[in-house]
């Protein structure tokens, strides 16, 4: 071994030893996820465990049961994939809001416990903000208007006067919930989104469905009832088929989302658009939002699928940002808050230009 390679190896070890790592725990709904990410934003490992209901939607008790059974395995796998020990972690971050109470509690309890045992700081993170922050990191985007569409949230948000302000949101059910519910009605198992998208491609005609945009807010529950009626009608299978219904549902819901996005874009004058959340995987929606972004000369980015859905890496990264700006939370500040809105939270790290 010559002199140079020793220097390089030394340099490498210094880098490895000096790197600071955060452990992000995501536990708001069906996904229990652990991500390990370093303080510069490199994801070292990410392991997900998803609850898939046999029938119906997410029953909090059953989800909780599965997460309680699996969380140590997921944690250990994330650590072994990163080839580190739990003692190498410098910061714990977990999702404290919004989500299902019993499930948020598991994440909070595990995180507090780890933080006490390892004597490292803990940071409580808002799930919706984490979605935006990981998008900014992964897409190298500065100041986007974000359309966040998932099974639990439908929010159009942008950063203004110190907060992620909500410009538009759903007044009743989220769009992901709409698609999942429709999928269940036609007997498609969870997750229904990708299959509904496939069905819609074979459609031959559009059926009129209610289109409800109130200012910048959206309402999907009437749309859901109308599709349900279409499926129960005696014309179903004769005058139109499942492909047409899926197509009409998607076209209507996505046109509503795109219209509101465009309004928010015109209103805020942002030059970047970020599409994130589970429904962001839908190509049709991507196409439509891309279209309006282009019309307003805004750069359009979709968060890579791995980081668009619920994941621990985004929690870890947001935890890092908050930790760098204001330090860790004291234990009494790590209460869960299942119904916290993202516009209630100040964003200290954006002011400093991180």
């Amino acid at each position: 071994m010559n002199q140079y390679s020793i220097v390089i190896i030394n340099f490498y070890w210094v880098k490895v030893i000096n790197r600071q790592l955060a452990l992000g725990i995501e536990s708001t709904a069906h996904t229990w996820s652990v991500g390990i990410i370093d303080f510069n934003g490199t994801v070292i490992s990410l392991v997900n465990d998803m609850f898939i209901p046999e029938k119906g939607g997410l029953h909090p008790v059953l989800v909780r049961e599965q997460h309680l059974n699996n969380f140590t395995q997921v944690l250990n796998r994330a650590l072994s994939e990163a080839s580190i020990s739990i003692k190498d972690i410098n910061l714990i971050a977990f999702s404290k809001s919004p989500g299902l109470g019993p499930i948020l509690k598991i994440g909070a309890q595990v995180s507090r416990l780890l933080s006490q045992l390892l004597k490292i700081p803990v940071v409580a993170v808002n799930h919706c903000i984490a979605h935006i922050e990981i998008g900014r990191l992964m897409c190298e985007i500065e100041d986007p208007l974000t359309l966040y569409v998932s099974g639990g949230n439908t929010i159009i948000s942008a950063y203004e006067s110190g907060r992620y302000q909500i410009f538009g949101e759903t007044l009743d059910i989220p769009v992901g919930n709409l698609i999942d519910s429709f999928a269940r009605d036609v007997g498609i198992p969870h997750p229904g989104g990708p299959k509904v998208e496939e069905l819609a491609k074979k459609a031959l005609k559009y059926l009129a469905l209610p289109y409800v945009v109130k200012g910048m807010d959206l309402s999907f529950s009437g749309l859901y009832t109308a599709t349900k009626r279409l499926l129960e009608s005696k014309d179903y299978g004769k005058k139109y088929n499942i492909y047409d219904v899926a197509h009409s549902l998607q076209e209507t819901a996505f046109a509503m989302l795109t219209e509101v996005t465009e309004r928010a874009l015109a209103h805020t004058g942002k030059k970047e658009v970020l599409l994130t959340g589970g429904v962001a995987a839908n190509k049709k929606l991507q196409e439509m939002v891309k279209y309006v972004s282009k019309e307003h000369n805004a750069r359009f980015e979709v968060v890579p699928l791995k980081y668009a859905g619920d994941n621990g890496a985004m929690i870890g990264w947001t935890g890092i940002l908050r930790y760098k700006a204001t330090g860790g939370n004291i234990l009494s500040d790590t209460q869960i808050n299942p119904k916290e809105r993202m516009d209630q939270i100040t964003i200290p790290w954006r002011n400093k230009g991180i």
């Binding site: 559009y206 200012g215 309004r263």
Partner: protein, 224 residues
């Protein structure tokens, strides 16, 4: 030959429609053209544009009856989803409100409140009362424009929602003088609603604070 209908220049590009300045049989007009949107399919696009154009034009014509200052509609072109209406020469309240002396501010906001009350009293909901949608002419008259989100309703809830939106706009765009502005607005509103329906008016104003506590994810204890 005299050209009867001339579109001259686009003066505003909205998310939904373009406003084009021009002339129509010698009159100064605005063409409000709802543009086709390429992202949605033809059936949705057509239906939305035609319905919204017709609804807006109908509303503009109907509220004229109550003496509210709105642009005169000259022609409705559903084929191109365009409304041709009178051009109102003046400034948006948004642009000038902050530079006005307090006395003028309260005077104009009272006037706005009065006009909105007349709309509400007769079952018209504007749907998008913002300071950008109020024009102050050179003759110091208030004009209310953009009835794109107009709706008909006699529910207290809908009227309060309308006022709540205006309150939010005042807070976010004109925060410094919010209190005097909104107080003057409400004063005008009460005046416009008239003494015979004073109970309803009180309920509407009271309901604004109820709406504020009701947003998604507001604590159960705070709900009324």
């Amino acid at each position: 030959m005299l050209e009867e209908i001339v579109m001259e220049k686009i003066i505003h590009k909205g998310a939904e429609a373009n406003l084009i300045y021009g002339h129509w049989f010698g009159k100064e007009v605005i063409f409000k053209h709802r543009i086709p949107k390429g992202y949605r399919i033809e059936q949705i696009d057509r239906k939305l544009r035609v319905n919204r154009t017709l609804n807006e034009a109908k509303a503009l014509i109907r509220v004229k009856k109550y003496g509210v200052n709105v642009p005169q509609v000259y022609e409705i072109d559903t084929k191109n989803s365009t409304i041709i209406m009178k051009y109102i020469r003046g400034k948006k309240l948004k642009e000038i409100l902050d530079s006005l002396p307090n006395k003028k501010k309260t005077q104009f906001l009272r006037e706005v409140g009065k006009n909105i009350a007349i709309l509400h009293k007769n079952g018209h909901i504007h749907g998008d009362i913002t300071t950008s949608n109020i024009i102050l002419t050179e003759t110091q008259d208030i004009f209310i424009i953009d009835f794109g989100l107009h709706d008909y309703s006699d529910y207290i809830e809908d009227k309060s929602t309308d006022l709540h939106l205006f309150k939010r706009v005042l807070i976010s765009s004109h925060g410094n003088d919010f209190i005097i502005c909104f107080d003057a607005f409400l004063e005008g509103y009460r005046e416009g609603y008239g003494p015979e329906k004073i109970d309803e008016c009180k309920q509407i104003i009271k309901n604004i604070s109820i709406i504020e506590t009701r947003g998604r994810y507001v604590k159960k204890e705070d709900r009324i």
